[in-house]
């Protein structure tokens, strides 16, 4: 599974979206989904940490990562490269 597919899977799971709901790289997360809040962010980080067995430091987390599906996928790709 590549970084984008993995990211889509995490988002679908955290926001309980159906598999048919479109999620492409440009789909907005923060501001795009009303229920995307601080708890969603922490849940997503946990999913990434557990799936890749990595640690994500506080200073790696910023609002920019969660702007779109694509920005989050880039972050996940970076973590996969380190794992």
């Amino acid at each position: 599974m590549n970084a984008l597919e993995l990211t889509q899977k995490f988002i679908r799971s955290c926001l309980q979206l159906s598999a048919t709901e479109p999620l492409d790289r440009d789909t907005a997360l923060l501001g795009g989904f009303p229920e995307f809040n601080s708890l969603t962010i922490t849940t997503l980080i946990v999913e990434i940490e557990e799936a890749l067995d990595c640690e994500i430091a506080d200073d790696e987390i910023s609002g920019e990562i969660f702007e779109t599906v694509g920005s989050l996928a880039d972050f996940v790709a970076g973590k996969m490269a380190q794992a």
Binding site: K9, N37, T40, V46, L52
Partner: protein, 285 residues
């Protein structure tokens, strides 16, 4: 100990009726429990150890349903609220890990005195990690464990918990606190509020040090491990796979199953309330 019988429910055809009772265990640090008792003599006692904070509440309905089912199969099932949580006495800031360990031990003693039968621990999320900690202090007290989406590392769990506060501050545009900084304040004995819960330094610092590494005993302990898989696949996350392998290497038998339901311990359940929404809209028109 006080037990109030709440009522008796009939099981399905062929299964016995079960009795539901509520009570407290422990004199110094009383913990509330809800107990499902089989019609006949129990062939085993299940003790349910709950998750932490809001996760505990979100799992309650599913747990009660499962506990009732266990009782219909001839097992007693006791749903424990640790001291300082749920319906128990005390504030969360007064709770400590040794008190929670004692809550489990008090309940185990009470159950086995009432009827001699093996005790099984059923831990959900943090409750599973607490079960492993309890067995370090009371080896062999439970040879079979049931885990629902266990938390394998206290340190990761506490970081994740504190991150909610960091993320909430970040969203408000306030200067972010680091999770390491919050852990240091907790270790110094301060309490910190996270998502509506005031966390005591002693308890959280003790949880931070828990790791699911091994179970004491002669390698005769068995864990039934239920792990969530959003897409229903059997593939485990890298972290879970590593922890399971570690436990297996130290002689614990682990049977893993994955389940594809929605993660009930998390928020974002989009329950629909169409009736409420429709009637509100009718008012506005």
């Amino acid at each position: 100990m006080t037990v109030d019988t709440l009522g008796t429910t009939a099981g399905p055809a062929g299964a016995g009726a079960t009795e539901v009772a509520a009570g407290f265990v422990g004199d110094v640090y009383p913990a509330f429990f809800l107990q499902f008792w089989p019609a006949g003599p129990p062939r085993g006692h299940l003790i349910y150890l709950p998750p932490f904070g809001e996760e505990m509440n979100r799992c309650r309905a599913a747990v009660a349903e499962q506990a009732r089912w266990f009782a219909r199969q001839g097992l007693s099932c006791t749903v424990l609220d640790f001291y300082g949580t749920g319906e128990s006495d005390g504030d969360l800031t007064d709770a400590t890990l040794p008190i929670w360990r004692q809550n489990i031990e008090d309940l185990r003693v009470q159950l086995t005195q009432r009827w001699a039968a093996p005790v099984y621990l059923w831990g959900c999320r943090l409750g599973a990690l607490i079960a492993v900690d309890y067995l370090q202090w009371h080896p062999g007290s439970s040879k079979r464990l049931l885990f629902w989406q266990p938390v394998p590392s206290g340190s990761n769990f506490v970081t994740q918990l504190l991150r909610q506060r960091a993320a909430a501050l970040m969203q408000k545009g306030e200067q972010g606190e680091t999770t390491a900084g919050m852990k240091a304040r907790l270790a110094a004995g301060e309490s910190i509020e996270v998502a509506g819960y005031r966390l005591g330094g002693e308890l959280v610092t003790a949880i931070d040090q828990l790791e699911m590494r091994f179970l004491p005993g002669d390698g005769d302990t068995e864990i039934f491990w239920m792990e969530h898989s959003a897409d229903g696949s059997v593939a485990l996350g890298a972290r879970t796979a590593r922890v399971i392998e570690q436990l297996q290497q130290t002689g614990t038998t682990i049977s893993v199953s994955t389940f594809g339901d929605e993660p009930i311990w998390q928020l974002h359940k989009r329950a629909s309330c169409d009736d409420l929404l429709t009637k509100t809209r009718e008012l506005v028109i």
